[in-house]
């Protein structure tokens, strides 16, 4: 006996209908679920948004960096077209063959091919690998033409930061480079905002300022990144672009500097192979026309990553090409400091005709303080002492003035302080951070735990030696303040840029007696124009002033009858080793370079209507009159002849209108 359908058919049919109902219900639920998902999307857009997120990749567009101009609109740092070739390793069938073919076009050796193949194997297969940039146009064209056979190769026409004057402006402008891992780690530590920033920094096109103005004004110059949506597949491979969704980047702001490209170039040439610094300032406005440090280096090397060998060559050189000596180099000012001592002594009550007898040494405190001139100067007053740079006079003048008063005058003339030039000030960077220098006085001496100040220190202070440390820019400021009849000139490097306003009229240094100032100024005139002056070699600039038009003209037979243009100056020698009998009087060239004294020269001119102040420091250049003086003379000649202060500078608005009008 078996069951028949008829006997149980009723139950079966009922249950079959029930079960079918459950199945239909389930299918209905699926349909409702679809409707529900889509209804959610209608109200919140949730799924559509995520679909778009999936589909589109937000690609960062790095902003064009702000252009740096000199005062007359010469581009000092700009954005240059860069032709490059990259590969996406994943898309390349045969890495050796493909990279080899490119090497052939670019005329590169097998070594290069091997290195690139290894990089391609080690990197992420779908990340583009930059093979070479800075391609010549014809190389780029050949690669472009052969793209169909070179699978996985990308030829890109992009932009990169460029410094057209190479080493001439390397120090004030600095350079950009790829963010370092440390910089990325630092922003990563800043939380979620930092993470977004880190992603941006990892973009291969992003560059950050690493030194100079590029670093200090990074925020202004960088601009704001834009983005575009690129249609991608799930592997992130672009399959198209949505031109409607372009959010263009905001370019960085341009900046006009106070520098004069011609004069800066001239200064770098004049410094030549020397290590040192030259600065020229406009004493009316404080504009820094020249801010040269030598030796220079090519900032373009850093933009796309400098090689270790190149970096070592720069970093380990004893002439320190990477140092921005104008603001980071500290030197004893030597005799260039004597004007300060003279003013301080006069302020202490020293009579105008006070004179001393110089036998070539000054016995004090049980030892002899030597004068640079072995036989001495004989009887000298202040005018003669500045002119002949008599050390003995200023040993005694310093004792007359007292250390505190000398320090005070030094500070009034701009020593011992930093200036806001738009250059990096601290932040731990040792290569480009502006130094404050040291103006010693008894209080400072105690504060660093060296006990009681002694008169012996004051004597040394009198000739700008000892602990006194000044930077070339401070020397330039001192000279400018002397030239501007005691107005507290403040230097500036940025003429026009965000947050920069016109310089105020500089106030007179309070408490400065014009008679005291006049005395040291005429002393400086004597240095380069009177018999016995230490820098007579710098006297003849070869320039004359036309008596009616007041224009400066080169000295020619026709103009020889006009009044020559004169400058006032002061030599200085900063001891690297204490002045000893062994080195005294020896010609500097017979001493090993790194033990030679630093040579300094400060000057201003034209004497009849001062406008420009100049300071030159030549490291290990021997006495100031030897090397520094002639360099200053060359620079002053060109500066006074060009007279940039009288030429109309270009404004940022003009420059931007001009670049907008120019073909791209």
């Amino acid at each position: 006996m078996t069951t028949t359908k008829r006997e149980t058919g009723g139950v079966f049919n009922r249950r079959a209908v029930l079960l079918s109902g459950v199945a239909f219900g389930g299918l209905g639920a699926v349909a409702l679920r679809i409707a529900q998902l889509q209804a959610t999307d209608l109200f919140s857009g949730e799924w559509s948004d995520r679909a778009e997120e999936n589909r589109f990749d937000r690609r960062v567009i790095t902003p064009p960096r702000g252009v740096l101009y000199d005062r007359f609109g010469v581009e000092l740092a700009t954005t240059r077209r860069d032709l490059r070739v990259s590969i996406i390793p994943e898309d390349v069938d045969d890495l050796e063959a493909t990279i080899g073919a490119i090497a052939q076009i670019l005329e590169l050796d097998a070594n290069w091919v091997r290195r690139r193949v290894r990089e391609a194997r080690n990197g992420k297969p779908y990340d583009p690998l930059l093979l070479r940039q800075g391609l010549e146009w014809d190389q780029f064209a050949i690669i472009n033409a052969r793209l169909p056979e070179l699978k996985g190769v990308i030829a890109e026409d992009t932009e990169t930061r460029s410094y057209p004057h190479s080493l001439v402006f390397a120090h004030p402008i600095g350079y950009v480079a790829k963010p370092t891992q440390r910089e990325i780690d630092r922003v990563l530590a800043e939380g979620p905002e930092g993470e977004r920033r880190a992603i941006y920094l990892r973009n291969p096109d992003v560059r950050l300022g690493k030194a100079g103005i590029e670093k200090a004004l990074e925020d202004v110059l960088h601009g704001e990144a834009g983005w575009r949506l690129v249609k991608v597949d799930a592997n992130g491979r672009p399959v198209g672009e949505d031109s409607a969704s372009l959010n263009p980047p905001k370019p960085g702001a341009g900046i006009v500097l106070t520098l004069d490209a011609d004069l800066q170039k001239r200064a770098m040439e004049a410094l030549g192979e020397e290590a040192g610094s030259a600065i020229v300032m406009d004493i009316y406005t404080g504009d820094i026309l020249v801010m040269a440090s030598a030796p220079g280096f090519d900032p373009n090397l850093f933009v796309n990553g400098i090689g270790q060998r190149d970096f070592d060559a720069l970093n380990l050189s004893e002439r320190h090409p990477l140092y921005h000596k104008s603001v980071t180099g500290t030197y004893a000012p030597g005799s260039t400091f004597k004007m300060m001592v003279g003013i301080a002594a006069r302020r202490a009550g020293m009579p105008e005709d006070w004179a001393v007898s110089c036998p070539g040494y000054f016995p004090f405190g049980g030892r002899n303080f030597h004068c640079w001139r072995r036989g001495g100067h004989g009887r000298v007053d202040m005018h003669a002492a500045i002119k002949g740079s008599c050390d003995v006079f200023f040993y005694r003048a310093a004792l007359y003035a007292g250390a505190e008063r000398i320090a005070q005058v030094a500070r009034e003339f701009g020593f011992g302080q930093r200036y806001d030039l738009g250059l990096p000030v601290r932040d731990g960077a040792y290569l480009d951070s502006m130094k404050q220098g040291i103006v010693p006085d008894p209080a400072w001496w105690r504060s660093i735990g060296r006990g009681q100040w002694t008169d012996g220190l004051t004597v040394n202070f009198g000739i700008g030696q000892g602990d006194l440390q000044v930077t070339p820019i401070q020397l330039a400021v001192m000279t400018a303040r002397l030239a501007a009849n005691g107005r507290a000139v403040v230097p500036r490097l940025i003429r026009e840029g965000p947050g920069v306003s016109d310089p105020p009229a500089f106030p007179l240094i309070p408490g400065l007696d014009p008679a005291h100032l006049a005395q040291v100024r005429t002393g400086m005139y004597g240095v380069s124009n009177e018999g016995g002056g230490t820098a007579l070699s710098a006297s003849n600039l070869g320039l004359v002033r036309h008596p009616e038009t007041r224009r400066i003209l080169p000295l020619t037979p026709e103009t020889a009858r006009y009044e020559p243009v004169r400058i006032a100056g002061k030599t200085g020698t900063a001891q690297v080793r204490a002045l000893t009998a062994a080195t005294r009087g020896r010609h500097y060239s017979t001493i090993e370079w790194k033990y030679r004294d630093h040579g300094l020269f400060v000057c201003f001119g034209p004497w009849d209507e001062p406008r420009y102040a100049c300071a030159v420091v030549v490291e290990h250049g021997g006495a100031g009159s030897g090397v520094a003086g002639p360099i200053a003379k060359v620079i002053m000649h060109d500066t006074i002849l060009k007279d940039p202060a009288r030429l109309q500078p270009r404004t940022l608005a003009q420059l931007q209108a001009q670049s907008a009008g120019a073909p791209a």
């Binding site: 078996t2 359908k5 079966f12 079960l19 199945a23 299918l27 699926v30 889509q38």
Partner: protein, 384 residues
């Protein structure tokens, strides 16, 4: 007697007559679904003119349909009844064989290599379990099917293969075998009180299984589904992408070959388990609804065959195939819409791949055969 009937009914006998009496509603539904599959595989392969998937899919269906019709015409229910137990026993042996010498692919041991052919015995079991249970209940004395005692052998028939398949591990197939078997038991008339108790036990053992019997990856899927784990790029990625594609499709979809999520490869497994998502993305709510409706129609037609069948075997076998189909479709569509955890079950006749299509076509060959031969009095004497 057969000959007399044949002459009396005239055109209702003979191959032509039989062809005319085949259930063409079912055949048409199957064919429409397979053609939808061809269309979707063409879309999957868009941009690749040399892709063979759509052609393979279509030819595979055509061949299977031809075989299924031939089987329906020439293999009567009586034969299915006779081979039910031997088929079940052989499949069990094969499953044990898989345990011992099975081939492991992607971490699961499901395949058995027989010469050049690899075969998944767990797939054969989906049909075999239905036939074996149908025969078991056919053979029972009246009234016994409703009792607990006589349900125990049926439970063993289901439990043994389910346990083996679970161990492979293949949760999806095990679920399908169990649900098809339990559906047959339910239809055979088991008393409600036992069913209710059994459902309680099932719920309890599901919890138990979660902690003890499931593999880590299976547990991970369930965790993500339950919202216990957040893992958008791991186990939850498939469903998230599926929901994105379905949610953003709208009423009529992006259009054939225009679905951005499917075409952009964001949707994984779009030609197999997640093909329903692609249908909805490209044809919208309406497209999804039409596909679900065709499956519902097919299900209705299969249940109709079951209710018309004169024998318990025929009724239960047809209903069992209908249940298997329903489980496939329900689990797949519920999975891709995020209603149930991810279980690797394709959408029959549409998803690419031969296995599920063979299983479903084999099942419908039996349904067609039962329907075709429902009035064949000659079968009576043999069947009981």
């Amino acid at each position: 007697m057969t000959a007399m009937l044949a002459s009396a009914r005239g055109p209702r006998t003979g191959v032509i007559g039989k062809l005319r009496r085949l259930n063409w509603w079912i055949i048409t539904s199957l064919t429409v679904l397979a053609l939808i599959g061809v269309a979707m595989h063409t879309s999957v392969s868009s941009g690749d003119a040399t892709a063979l998937k759509p052609l393979t899919h279509g030819l595979r269906y055509a061949a299977l349909l031809f075989i299924a019709i031939a089987v329906a015409l020439f293999v009567p229910p009586r034969s299915w009844y006779l081979i039910a137990y031997p088929l079940y026993a052989t499949t069990m042996l094969l499953l044990i064989g898989v345990e011992l010498v099975g081939e492991t692919r992607m971490g699961a041991t499901r395949w058995l290599a027989v010469g050049p052919v690899s075969l998944q015995p767990s797939e054969i079991m989906k049909v075999a379990i239905v036939l074996a249970l149908a025969r078991y209940y056919e053979d029972l004395k009246p009234g016994r099917a409703v009792t607990l005692l006589w349900s125990i052998p049926a439970l063993f028939l289901i439990g043994a293969p389910v346990a083996l398949v679970m161990h492979q591990p293949d949760l999806g197939t095990a679920t399908l075998i169990a649900m098809a078997g339990l559906a047959v038991m339910f239809l055979a008339g088991l008393r409600w009180r036992y069913i209710i108790v059994a459902m309680g036990v099932a719920a309890a053992s599901a919890v138990g299984a979660y902690y003890f019997a499931l593999h880590d990856y299976q547990r991970a899927r369930i965790n993500v589904f339950l919202g216990l784990a957040d893992d958008p790029l791991g186990e939850g990625y498939h469903v998230l992408q599926s929901k994105i594609a379905i949610g953003s499709a709208g009423l009529t979809g992006a259009g054939w070959r225009q679905g951005s999520q499917s075409q952009g490869d964001f949707l994984p497994e779009k030609d197999t388990d997640f093909i329903f998502t692609m249908i909805v993305e490209e044809f919208g709510f309406l497209g999804g609804f039409v596909v679900v409706a065709i499956f519902a129609f097919l299900l209705w037609k299969a249940v109709e065959v079951a209710t018309r069948a004169r024998t318990m075997f025929g009724a239960l076998a047809s209903a069992g195939v209908a249940a298997t189909l329903s489980c496939y479709v329900l689990i797949n569509t519920a999975m891709v819409t995020g209603l149930v955890p991810v279980v690797g079950i394709p959408l029959p006749l549409i998803s690419y791949g031969g296995t599920a299509m063979v299983t479903i076509m084999a099942g419908f060959a039996i349904v067609l055969s039962i329907d075709l031969h429902r009035d064949q009095t000659g079968a009576r004497g043999i069947l009981w």
